[in-house]
Point group: C2
Amino acid sequence: MSDIHADGAVPGFGIDAIHEAARRLAGHVVRTPLLNSPMLDDLVGARVLVKAECLQLTGSFKVRGALNALLALDEDARRAGIVAYSAGNHGQGVAAAARLAGCPAVIVMPRTAPRIKVDNCRWWGAETVLYDPGTEDREEVARKILEERGMTLIPPFDDPRVMAGQGTVGLEIAEQAREMGLAPDTVLVNCSGGGLASGVITALDDAFPGLANHIVEPAGFDKMARSLATGRVCANPHPPDGLMDALSGPAAGARPLAVLRHYDVTGLTATDEEALAAMDTAHRLLKIVLEPGAAASLAALLSGKVDVRGEVVALVASGGNVDPAVFRRALAD
Amino acid sequence: MSDIHADGAVPGFGIDAIHEAARRLAGHVVRTPLLNSPMLDDLVGARVLVKAECLQLTGSFKVRGALNALLALDEDARRAGIVAYSAGNHGQGVAAAARLAGCPAVIVMPRTAPRIKVDNCRWWGAETVLYDPGTEDREEVARKILEERGMTLIPPFDDPRVMAGQGTVGLEIAEQAREMGLAPDTVLVNCSGGGLASGVITALDDAFPGLANHIVEPAGFDKMARSLATGRVCANPHPPDGLMDALSGPAAGARPLAVLRHYDVTGLTATDEEALAAMDTAHRLLKIVLEPGAAASLAALLSGKVDVRGEVVALVASGGNVDPAVFRRALAD
């Protein structure tokens, strides 16, 4: 990306931008709880702090980045409204952000998107534009809307204001851990494009320098870990075929990658079966609902993919939008 | 009960005792979040504030009352330890309270109790004493332990300190609603013996005088509503046969009844099917796990058993300890 500096700095993003986002979002989004379960601690052998973003408006962290990007627009652009192409949590986050700010939104989705996702975007007041994924290109569909209506595209992750908005999750973890008298030694963040991971790691490293940083991706789809290893934006080898749809975007984000390269970040992965087991554990011990992709970090922890014995570990339980049939599968007897 | 005054006052219980309990419990129990979902508000036609006690230590509010009663004991009594007879949430609450205070606990349970409930009490460090419900009387079993070991019985609800501890749920609702700039018009509380209901209604009526108070019981097992109507402690007509085991104690508590008679309290009921539907709604819109009895208030609200249009409604989602098979049944497609 042309605006990324030679030293890897991303214009418009950094700890100051995250603090600015926190001021913008205050009173609009939920300060989700940082949960702890003594039984979970016992199971993992560490003090585990779970940032429950499933309890956020729209059931995922996505509304934070969308609303921060929207509130950063000037008055005219805001009035014209915002566009997203997403059949997932980002679409709902953009729809909710527009409602919170009182501006129009258009969500571009494939005709094949589940009815509930279309209905949810409409419930928040957004217009939905459905395209035929066999014959139409979603970027082309969105481009027309942007041009004709003077609207602004809100990217799902590769945008400094979106990244800063997601970073408020990390600021809150730092505040809440301190309120509990704790300082995390390790953080695990679910990662797809990297908007959440870059924001959270920037915020937590500022609060607790030297923290051990981990991103968690679906096994076989570790595009960000490969991007970090090669220094270039990598794509997944083939279209996703598993349950972790929230972590299944095609490629890592250039700006998130540029940010994450500043830190010592270890890439971990979780399988669908491990994610289902983690959803069951979250159900039994934390009493929260997680979707498979949101359970990846807890899955990596419970499967022993990182040695955290005796540490304080923070992780982001990033969303809870899951089909009942998948959730039923997760529940062990 | 002989210590209840002629005017219905319960010695040791009242708003001051609830504030004292809050000071005792601070830092030991979780200040659970007061959740709100715009979609749920839309469904009900009111602003609905859900106190998520399923996110409390042990997965229910019970640890509050148990720990308050325990911390009120003198040093010697505390060191000797506490006893409960309960195979349910109260047993686990007492076990956890003892661990938090560093004292011994004995939980008396029928041999027929589910393995997981026995294991959970032991996990918290309590000793479990299993009796044969066919040939032994649990009160007799407990009495022997109390006498031989000088331990103190922690009753599940008919005790001023237990009631005051549960009342801290109401204090927190009042504080959290005010932080949101809201004043509840109506409260719904799940009710069995009445410990939670008497505490929460006392605290909320103090904060918001004139609030409309509702208790919610399983349909056909509305012992407290009948006790309020007759002015005498009533029992359920026959042993419970439904899913709401947390609300299925045999009789209303004398002290909770004496307290609730001071207020204008409306009795509502919910069926098992309504509770299952409310568990599904909580799963979809709030992303929390509720057990059937804990979903009774939300069930009454969703089934339109009380007219709350345009109001601010507070309710207590009192616990999340549910068998996976029951939870699977609750999930609609």
